[in-house]
Every structure is written in C-alpha cells, then in structure tokens.
Amino acid sequence: MDQQTIFLTILGMMAVTYVPRALPLLALAQRTLPESVVRWLGFIPVAVLSAMLLPSLVITEKGLDFSADNIFLWAAIPTFAVCWKTKSFVGAIVTGMGCVALGRLFFA
C-alpha cells in the first residue's frame, strides 16, 4: 500500500474514532438523565475494561488456553497481586512485562 493511501486510511480511522467519542457527550451533557441510566453508565467502565482484558489473557492462537504455555494468563496473577498490594499502576505494568519477558526467556 502506498503512503498516500495509508494517510487517507488514517483520516478515515480518525473520523470513525472521533464521532463515537464526541456524540454522546455533545448530546447528553446538557440534559438530566434518569437515575437508572446513570447507574447503567456507572457499570460501563468495569464492563468494558474486563471485556477487553479477559479474552487477551485466556485466548491464544490455540483457542481457549489454560495450559502452562499461556504466559499472558499466568503473568496476570502477579500483576493483579502487585497492583492490589501496592496500588501502583507503574508497579503493575513493570511486573506484568517483567514476568512475560522472564517467562519467555526460561520457558519458551
């Protein structure tokens, strides 16, 4: 693909990314929402984060993978533990990346 086509694709990506980010804020911010809608929206952060995270941990190219080879899954345990204990965002990322690097070094 030539660079001009890539650039036009990026502009397309920009448009389809911006509209869903802006539309609800522009449409909903000026009005009072019913309590149930606000409560529903309050569940969105945990739901969306978990829905993005879990498949990346348990699904590999082999499908559902709970084998010892699935480094992403097992690295999540110390990452969770460190984050839980220290409340440190950075600590969690360093732990996770470190475990994956070590796992690949010794077991892959």
Binding site: M52, L64, C83, F89
Partner: protein
C-alpha cells in the same frame, strides 16, 4: 478560583502540576505501548510521518496496534477503517458515562475534550469528575500530557525500530493487558461492579470464541451492564 480547584488535594498546586502528577501512571503506560506501536508500524510498512500522524490524529492505543497488524497483512483500507470503528465504538459508552458530570461545559469545549478521550484518560477522569474535579485547566492538561506521552513513545519506537528486531523478549506486548488490569482494579468499587466485570469478561471471551471477532467487547459490555442494572433493581426491591 473555581470550586474544582479548591476541592483538589493540594490547594497551592497549579492545575498543570496537579495534572502532571495524576497523569504520571498513564505516561508510564503510554510510553512503552506507544514505543511498541512505533516499532510495529515501521515493520508494517508505514512511513515515519504516517506513523506519527496516526498517533496525533487517531490517538487510540489498541486500535492503532490492531491497524498496523492489518496494514502488515495487506488488508483493504475500508476493512481497516471498519475495524477501527468497531474497536473504538466502546468509547460511545464511556463518553455517555462522563456526560452527567460535564453539564456546565460548552459544546466546543466538549468537542475538544472528546478528541483525547481514551480508555486511560477516561478511567482517570471518571474518578476525578465523581469527586467534582472538572476544572478545565487540569482536565485538558491531563489530556494533552497523555497524548504527548503517546506521541513521544511513538517517536522513540520509530527511532529504535532498526535496533529492535523482536519486541517479544522484552514483554512489550504485555503493556496493554497490564494497564487494563491496573485500571480494572481501580474501578471495582462494589460487589455489583465485580459481578459485572466477571460477566463482561466471560461473555466477551465466549463471544470471541464464537467468532464475533470485533464486536465482542461492545456486545459483552452492554449485556453485562444491563444485567448489573437488573440485579441492582432486584436487590434494592428485596431490601426495601
């Protein structure tokens, strides 16, 4: 001085300093992921300019990583745009979740804010806004600092791409899952939230295994949040 500034933890702190302090974890998350994106984009045939432009114009971590994979696989431009749309559609829900807190803001300010709303800035803002900290200086400071870290990481990745042949041995591809783990733990405010998270994760996994490769996140999120609302309505009726 507006009330948002007064309610922040340190009253003497300027909005920019406070923004930087709060954004620090995001910076440390974005630089390695942006770096990984920069390296991968180079290996997928994007020019340096296009690689940086994508971080400036799109600013969406996971979508950018998925897109460079598609560019490398020679996918059609329309397929790449459509995938980006589906992957980023979750921001629709995040944007709606922030709306109740930003009622006093003008349309143009909301339009500008939306441009830099990512998973991570959302997770930070949802906590701040709930505490009444909606000061525009600090809010936009956080967004600009976060995107600068993302673009900075991209540039570093571009510069280093010739030195790094494989990102796997240093675990860079785990930066994103680790960041989601940390953000998720910060959002588990109650047992109901925990239950919604478990349902969403399991459902998303099942849907992805069933072949729903791009819309599983959105579908699982909507269903899990709706179940959470139903359970809440049911338990509050039981106790009243």
């Amino acid at each position: 001085m507006n009330c948002a500034t007064l309610s922040s933890t340190n009253r003497a702190e300027s909005p920019l300093v406070s923004a930087f302090r709060q954004t620090l974890p995001i910076i440390l998350g974005y630089v390695p992921v942006g770096f990984a994106y920069g390296v991968l984009a180079q290996k997928s045939g994007l020019s340096g300019v296009n690689t940086i432009l994508m971080s400036l114009l799109v600013f969406a971590g996971s979508a950018q990583l998925i897109a460079v994979g598609l560019f490398a696989a020679k996918a059609a431009p329309l397929a790449i745009v459509a995938t980006t749309f589906v992957v980023n559609l979750r921001h629709l829900l995040m944007s709606a979740a922030l709306a109740p807190y930003l009622r006093g803001w003008s349309k143009s300010r909301l339009a500008l804010f939306s441009y830099q709303m990512t998973d991570e800035t959302f997770a930070l803002h949802v906590g701040r806004f709930a505490r009444g900290e909606t000061g525009p200086g600090e809010t936009f400071g956080i967004n600009v600092i976060a995107q600068s870290a993302w673009v900075g990481g991209t540039v570093l990745g571009l510069a280093a791409s010739t030195l790094i042949t494989d990102i796997r041995p240093i675990g860079l591809d785990y930066a994103l899952p680790a960041m989601f783990i940390a953000l998720l733990l910060g959002q588990l405010k109650s047992r109901q939230h925990l239950a919604v998270a478990v349902i969403a994760g399991v459902l998303s996994t099942v849907l992805m295994l069933a072949g729903l490769d791009q819309s599983h996140v959105l579908a699982a999120t909507v269903i899990a949040a709706t179940i959470g609302l139903g359970v809440h309505a049911w338990t509050s009726r039981q106790s009243s």
